[in-house]
Structure formats: structure tokens, C-alpha cells
Symmetry: C2
Subunit: 171 residues, 2 copies
């Protein structure tokens, strides 16, 4: 085994939540399948006080990347049938939550900020989701409008919502 592979397979440093995401979605079922598919869904982020300083100048960005833990996703699957298709795909060709590392990524719209609280639109995560990072959305880094999108092409309809297929089942 290659040295670099061995190093990468070593234990990675633990992640810490920097805040909590609040949304109207308590269960996956019925929630939008990606931020932009229901731009009316509003939510908030509450940043923990020890990270307050990091919010300086966040107000200037129309959109923010939220990177979060998909804490209620079912166990990882390498092959999934996503909400938008009837065919199976590899997990890395989908945005389905049951991933080897349960990391979620959504470009949300910033409506305002008040102290430790961010007001957001286009949210699609579940209420109480642990937030890992906020990054500013910068079109020069992030926006590629004509990028060919594999099996997603022609599949995106704004009325598609999630069912429970990737949600951890509780008793």
C-alpha cells in the first residue's frame, strides 16, 4: 500500500458543530430534494457563540454554502436509486444523503443576519442539523451554468419532494 494511502486511511481529526440549522422539515419525507428546488422554504442558522467573530462580512454575500452533517441519513449505500430517477446510480453520481461520509452541501440564499442568527431561504436540510462550515458563494469559483449534468439532465422538476427512503428509521 502506498504511503499516501496509508496516511489518508489514518484516523481523521474529529469534526465539531459550529451551529445548528433550523428548518420547517422534521422528516425527510416531503422535504425539498435540494436547496434550489423549493426556494421559498425559509430557515435559520444559530452559530455557537465561540464562533461569532468568524461571521464578520458574511452579510455581503447573497448566497452561502452550508456544509453540514446528514445526521439522520440511513447507513451508507454505494448504489442508490435517487428521488429523481427510477434507475440506480453510484452514490458519488447522486446527491443522496446515505454517503460514506454523511456530508451535506447546499447553496442557500441569505436573507439577513442578526448577531449569531442567519436568516435563510432555499433551505432543504432537516430541522436540528449540525452545521460544520459556512463558505461564501463566489460565482467565479462556484458557478458553471452550462456544465453537463449526467443523468440529472431533463429530470429536474420543482414539484419533486423526498420520500423516506434515505432516512434512518426510528422505532
Amino acid at each position: 500500500m502506498h504511503n499516501e494511502e496509508l496516511e489518508c486511511r489514518a484516523a481523521l481529526p474529529p469534526m465539531t458543530a459550529i451551529g445548528v440549522i433550523h428548518t420547517p422539515f422534521v422528516h425527510a419525507q416531503g422535504s425539498p430534494i435540494q436547496a434550489v428546488m423549493d426556494s421559498d422554504a425559509q430557515g435559520t442558522v444559530e452559530i455557537f457563540p465561540e464562533f461569532a467573530e468568524g461571521l464578520k462580512d458574511v452579510a455581503g454575500f447573497e448566497r452561502l454554502w452550508l456544509i453540514y452533517l446528514l445526521d439522520r441519513a440511513s447507513a451508507p449505500q454505494l448504489i442508490v436509486r435517487p428521488y429523481l430517477d427510477i434507475v440506480e446510480h453510484g452514490i458519488f453520481a447522486t446527491r443522496s444523503p446515505s454517503r460514506p461520509n454523511a456530508i451535506g452541501l447546499s447553496a442557500v440564499r441569505q436573507l439577513g443576519i442578526d448577531g449569531l442568527k442567519l436568516y435563510l431561504a432555499s433551505v432543504d436540510m432537516l430541522d436540528g442539523t449540525p452545521l460544520l462550515d459556512i463558505k461564501p458563494y463566489v460565482p467565479e469559483f462556484d458557478s458553471f451554468p452550462a456544465s453537463r449534468a449526467g443523468w440529472y439532465e431533463g429530470r429536474l422538476r420543482p414539484d419533486v419532494v423526498a420520500d423516506g427512503r434515505f432516512e434512518r428509521q426510528h422505532n
Copy 2:
């Protein structure tokens, strides 16, 4: 303290590398500051064999999100002076690597795939970086070309490269 805050502050599940990213950049100094700033930089990703199945249909996407561990970033800072500015900003208003959770995000261009190996352009991460996730780039979810970009506006020049300011110093 609110229940949800307590839950989010609990220990988060550990992350595992799904592969290694190879690039021409051994040190931060001189490397591009974001994927798109040097679209000629080529690299590869080697996926670990146990995740092979997850690559099915990844080939159809022109761009991929790589989510990775910024494993050589210096200790987290809440206020930083990023490469592109002479003014300090909150870490969450920048893409600087010294973040509370050292998670990197880049939209790379897919040149091809051969078994467990992805050939990529527009890479900006350091050689040997542990890969955490691959997500397909879907313009409907990810592309917002006119999004207002705070202090970044007017600052982006393709000739700006990194210096060593966010790199962990070795003896």
C-alpha cells in the same frame, strides 16, 4: 442550553477518507487559490477499492464537487486576511483553509475516469489530500452566476497564487 444545541455539540461521527487526491502542488505557496483560478492544473483522484461501486455513472458529469480534508492547514483562525485582500474578514466570509472544521470544497473538471482513477483539471488542493466525498455538479442546484459576492467582487485576478500564510509550518 437548548436541547438541539446539546445534541449538535455531542461528538460527531468520525470521517473516513474515500481516496487520495494527487496534484502538482506540494506546498501551499505558489498553488492556485481556488480550482477555477488555474484551470490548467491537472490532477487525479484515486478512490479506495471498497468504494468502487459508488463511481457508477460519475462519468456523465462535466464537473464534480470534491469535498476534502485540508490536512495541512494551520490552526483555525476566526479572523483572517485572505490571499485576495489586504483587509481582514471573518473566516466564514472567506475560502481560507484555516477553518474550525478543515473541510475544503472545489468544483473540478472531469477529464476522464479509468477504473478507480479520475482524471481532473482545475485542481487546487495539495498533493496527497484525503478525499471525503464526491458529488456531481448540477447547475440547477449549484450555479448562481449573478450572486452578489461581498468583498470578493472586483478582487479576482487569475494571476494570484497562494503564499504560505495558512500552511502548517514544519521544522
